[in-house]
Amino acid sequence: MLESRNRATRVAPFPLATETIGRVAIAPLPPRTRLSLRLRPAAAADVGAVAGLSLDMPITATRAADGRRALRLGPDEWLLLADADEAEELTALVTAGLAGTFHALVDVSHRSCGLAVTGAGAGAALNAGCPLDLSPKAFPIGTATRTVLAKTEILLARLDADAFEVECWRSWADYLRGFLLEAARGL
């Protein structure tokens, strides 16, 4: 058995403090389970749902159930999100649900890290570096997409009118946070 002092602990790339600048608050998201699911579009339509999460939905849409979310990022790509301690369980459920169907399921929980960007200025701050139309009509609540923020690739999801989640690959964390803080100061 390992001695407890040798048991590794998680270290997130973002500082834990929430920064509030004007009408924008930037806070780290807690660690979570992220599974990248790749599946042929036709198979997704046949399967319909897996682990209680619907897969048959428009690209950039989100479906949520039991605290888990499925984000359709492309014709053959979904990101499944769940609490940090659910990776094994969700992996087993999805693998079982897709038995016999060609798919790829890869745990990427540690690949990314996220920030919650909230407040009345959240959309404008994101638009400092993200060229997407973030109006409620063009980017309604529940939209999630891979896009760019200045010089980084991000995953952008809208949870509420003034609440977004932004994820980047973890080595870009300093840049992402620094850019969003500067964007908030520039509003």
Partner: protein
């Protein structure tokens, strides 16, 4: 401080309750809130504002607008906040603002450079091309440095800019550029749709020309009242955004329009509150309405550039908007009607006005009657043949035009200010940038929007409509149509005096060869220069422009293009459009670098990617090096160590004990699916079908041209799952290439690719004691040689976290690469570090990694390879499968030049002097005394001091190298040549026993 002797007693949109003071060339001048620098200086009688570009002639304000070519000022807002080339009429006066003139020495009033004006007969068009031809060598060393030192207007700032600049992307349904009558009417119409409307205008407040219109009414109310009501109506719409002080400067594809919003320059420093100085907007608009107005043309006559000679409409702006008398005794010189409105307003303000109209009396009857009603003297049928004065105009020399076209006797009209009007040029710059095609309208002597390339409409003066009512109606219709409404309406508006007779150069009785009549004020191009260019055979306006530089200054010829085009057409006796027209390019007006850069400076200039272990290395004093966007620990110097000593120590530690290395930046791709092995067979030169799960193999990947693209170890985790590693820098391009092939060539393969570069932190433990350090922290993996031999992989737990543990080595020693989920990377590293203390574990960086692999003859893609190197060139030809039917690059490997003898091959080099370290990139020759150019055999690719060998070692690509073992060659050095012997590439442990650690 002077007391503004030329400020009118009443009127204007200035706030007389808020005084301010600005400085210009060391003097302090008073003004009011609402002034520009130009209006404040003129209120104080300051007309001399600059020296011209080439001849250093005294110059004053020509235009109050952004088309100003002369009055370009240095504006100083404090350290780092110094900007050159600000147009005086576009800079809002702020209390305490420091400004200065440019292009003069020692002072504005006495400028040594004015000698150029005396020498002007020498500085003809094409002067540089004709003069600095010979001797040839003088160009680089003498002519160009001297010309560069003498040329240019303002001085570029040298200090870092402390201001913040912001960026913003925005989307709207209708973007309206210009908030004059047409733009405001367009916004009114579009706003009714409820769609998202943006109205932007470069001036401090919306209104455009209506801001200086004190006589017109619109729908029964005074024009300025109509502006106020319209803005209030627009403000009531939540979906309408009005941005003043915002210039649309670039019109790109898909209605992508770039704007720059000036946010703080008009505020005193105490009120800026760290707001950004400027904001660059990138707007994507479904529809664009251009309502950008028109620019007035100067008249071209001798000495038309004296301070005090301005555009007629600018005089009207100064009087009506800024309550400034540009002079007391004013002559309006014109070939059109609009100048009479200016004359009337000047007269109404109590100034003495005379009008000189170059049109024949019969052609301006209505205008002269209008003037007569107001007691203004008009001299119709008179040309202007010159001006008097030096630093300020003191008289205008006019002469009657006789019926036969000859010029009658001269007379001088004393004056202290001249307003000239040669007609109007629609501002079609943005339309032209949108790739729309212009057509020449002879009746209006203007290029007008004709063929539209994007979802765009032009309305108002920029489309040729100069009358107020027409502008309003056209603007409204354009705004409605852009918003998808089929609405039109008429506006009751005062009539506008429009129409002009274009005269490119006013007739004169003087020798045309001696007349200095300026066409392009900013680049100091005269009518004489254009005539010379045409005479020398330049007939296309594109050639004339480049030869004379007309229209090529920072104002892009806003005031000069039509006069230049018309003159050239007249000289060639051809129609104006046949000479061509100008292609306008962004930016419409100059844009600060700050706005373009935005937040992308300092730490945000370029992302620096950091591994989970980066902070540990930083705390240990690591020196970093950039590898693509990553920063990697280069070496870990101890106190007093230089790089050489640190690397030598790190190398010895790995060979004799154990080293720990952060390899997290390695690219990683998870290849999953029943066809995964087949997919890798097609991507790599070597085969994968027989690799058993739990085993690793080194893979080599080519481009289609047969040259090495990337390499890395691939681990088979399961029948249908591979863990592929790539080089750090190659990760994105390898994944892209793989996706490209998968999606476009082999969509039938059941394979998906997922980047896991950042999922896994990778900790390399290398050295004879690596197993001893690792073993206590591994729960369920047998680390013995039998269970986990070299080039194998297991999944298990390290420090209690799930890990992919590979036994691989890039050092030639017993080695492991511990892959753990990235958030655990630091903790596992620290645990290994702690466990390794008993074994003398040493952290090492990329430099030591490079030395250790070179000692083993392992290549680094991008160091031993340069995009022209095949597997056989680096001695890896044996890896290339001869049984696979195909793989990327296979066909190219059979190309004649890739199989021909004489290719450069990778070899080892040992210098005669064991302490001499060759330069990487140095050339290898056989005979250094051979006549120049000495034939080159190849070059050094890697070179280090090797502690294990006790000497320097090098790798080199040498022609037929493998056939030259033992040959002596010569390698270039900074001092000459070094002798070296060619040998094989493996310097340490040629038998390869250490990596298998069989003795343990």
């Amino acid at each position: 401080m002077s007391r503004q002797p030329f400020r009118l007693a009443q009127g204007g949109r200035i706030d007389r309750s808020r005084t301010l003071a600005i400085r210009f060339d060391g003097e302090t001048y008073g003004g009011f809130a609402g002034d520009t620098v130009a209006s404040a200086l003129l209120a104080n009688g300051v007309h001399l504002m600059g020296r011209s570009f080439k001849y250093h002639r005294p110059r004053g304000l020509l235009s109050v607008g952004t088309d100003e070519p002369n009055a370009l000022l240095r504006v100083d807002r404090g350290p780092g906040r110094v900007d050159p080339n600000n147009r005086a009429g576009a800079v809002e006066a702020v209390d305490g603002l420091v400004t200065g003139s440019q292009n003069r020495w020692p002072s504005l009033a006495f400028d040594v450079g004015a000698v150029n004006d005396v020498l002007s007969p020498v500085f003809v068009a094409g002067f540089y091309y004709k003069t600095f031809m010979w001797p040839r060598a003088f160009w680089d060393r003498v002519y160009e440095p001297v010309i560069r030192a003498a040329a240019g207007l303002g001085v570029a700032p040298a200090d870092p800019d402390p201001d913040r600049y912001a960026h913003r992307h925005a989307h709207c349904d209708v973007l309206i550029v210009g908030a004059g009558p047409a733009g405001l009417a367009a916004a009114l119409a579009a706003a009714r749709s409820g769609k998202r409307v943006m109205l932007v205008d470069e001036q401090a407040e919306p209104g455009g020309a209506l801001l200086h219109d004190v006589t017109s009414t619109i729908d029964g109310v005074p024009a300025q009242e109509w502006v106020a009501r319209t803005i209030a109506a627009l403000d009531a719409h939540e979906s309408v955004v009005v941005l003043p002080r915002t210039t649309a400067f670039g019109y790109y594809n898909h209605n992508h329009v770039a704007l720059v919003e000036r946010i703080t320059d008009h505020l005193p420093a105490s009120e800026t509150r760290e707001a950004p100085r400027e904001r660059l907007w990138q707007v994507r608009a479904a529809e664009v309405v251009l309502a950008t107005g028109a620019h007035e043309r100067p008249l071209v006559f001798a000495d038309n550039d004296r301070p005090g000679i301005m555009l007629a409409e600018s005089l009207r702006v100064l009087v009506n908007r800024y309550a400034v008398a540009p002079g007391r005794e004013i002559v309006i010189a014109t070939t059109g009607s609009s100048a009479y409105t200016a004359a009337a307003d000047l007269k109404a303000a109590g100034l003495t006005v005379t009008v000189v109209d170059a049109r024949l009396a019969a052609d301006c009857v209505a205008d002269t009657a209008f003037a007569a009603d107001r007691g203004i003297t008009v001299l119709p049928g008179h040309t202007i043949v010159g001006s008097k004065g030096r630093r300020r105009v003191s008289g205008l020399i006019v002469a009657p035009l006789r019926a036969d076209g000859s010029v009658g006797p001269r007379r001088t009209l004393p004056c202290d200010c001249v307003g000239m009007s040669g007609g109007w040029t629609p501002a079609v710059h943005l339309f032209s940038q949108s790739r729309g095609k212009l057509a020449y309208d002879a009746a209006r002597d203007a290029f007008l929007p004709a063929t539209h390339a994007q979802a765009e409409r032009s309305a108002g003066a920029c489309a040729g409509d100069m009358a107020l009512a027409a502008c309003l109606a056209a603007g409204f219709a354009a705004g409605a149509a852009a918003a998808g409404l089929e609405e039109t309406r008429t506006f009751a508006a005062s009539p506008t005096r429009t129409g002009f007779q274009p005269m490119r150069v006013l007739p004169t009785d003087a020798d045309p060869g001696r007349v200095r009549a300026f066409i392009d004020f900013q680049n100091d191009v005269t009518a004489k220069d254009l005539k010379l260019a045409v005479r020398e055979g330049f007939h296309s306006i594109e050639h004339v422009k480049r030869y004379t530089t007309t229209g090529m200054a920072t104002d892009q010829g806003k005031t000069s293009n039509m006069n230049a085009l018309g003159l050239v057409a007249g000289l060639l006796d051809t129609e104006l459009p046949r000479v061509g027209t100008t292609t306008f390019r962004p930016p419409y007006t100059p844009v600060t670098f700050g706005a373009l850069v935005g937040p992308g400076k300092g730490a945000l200039f370029e992302p620096v990617r950091k591994t989970p272990i980066d902070g540990w290395a930083e705390a240990r004093g690591a020196v970093f090096e950039p590898v693509s966007l990553w920063r990697r620990a280069w070496y870990f110097p101890k106190a007093g160590e230089d790089m050489h000593a640190a690397v030598a120590r790190e190398c010895r530690a790995v060979r004799e004990g154990v080293g720990i290395f952060d390899a997290s930046t390695l690219g990683k791709i998870e290849v999953v699916g029943p066809d995964a092995a087949e997919f890798l067979n097609r991507m790599y030169v070597n085969g994968w079908s027989k690799l058993a799960p739990g085993k690793c193999r080194y893979g080599l990947m080519l481009k289609e041209d047969g040259y090495i693209l990337d390499d890395g170890v691939v681990a088979r985790m399961a029948d249908d799952r591979f863990h592929v590693t790539t080089t750090t820098g190659g990760a994105p391009r390898v994944l892209t290439l793989m996706e490209d092939y998968l999606q476009t060539e082999w969509p039938d393969l059941d394979v998906f690719l997922t980047s896991v570069t950042e999922q896994w932190a990778v900790i390399a433990l290398q050295g004879p004691r690596a197993r001893a350090v690792l073993a206590p922290l591994v729960a369920d993996i047998d680390l013995s040689n039998e269970a986990l031999p070299h080039m194998s992989v297991r999944e298990g737990f390290v420090c209690g976290v799930p890990a992919r543990l590979m036994r691989v080595s890039f050092t030639g020693e017993l080695g492991y690469e511990v892959n753990v989920p990235a958030d655990y990377g630091l903790a596992v590293w620290e645990a290994l570090w702690a466990a390794g203390q008993a074994h003398g574990v040493t952290p090492y960086g990329t430099e030591t990694m490079h030395v250790l692999r070179a000692e083993k003859g392992f290549i680094i893609v991008g160091q031993e390879t340069d995009g022209t190197v095949t597997p056989d060139d680096v001695g890896l030809g044996g890896m290339v499968s001869k049984v696979k039917p195909d793989f990327v690059g296979k066909r190219s490997l059979a190309r004649p030049d890739l199989v021909a003898p004489g290719r450069k091959q990778l070899v080892g080099l040992e210098t005669e002097d064991p302490h001499e370290r060759l330069d990487e990139g140095a050339q290898v020759v056989r005979d250094p005394s051979a006549p120049l150019p000495v034939p080159m055999l190849g070059h050094v690719t890697s070179s280090y001091f090797s502690p294990a060998c006790g000497r320097t070692i090098a790798l080199a690509l040498v022609a037929d190298g493998r056939a030259r073992m033992g040959e002596t060659v010569h390698v270039t050095t900074m001092a000459g040549f070094a002798r070296a012997t060619i040998r094989d590439t493996v310097f340490v442990d040629a038998e390869g026993v250490r990596v298998h650690a069989r003795e343990s």
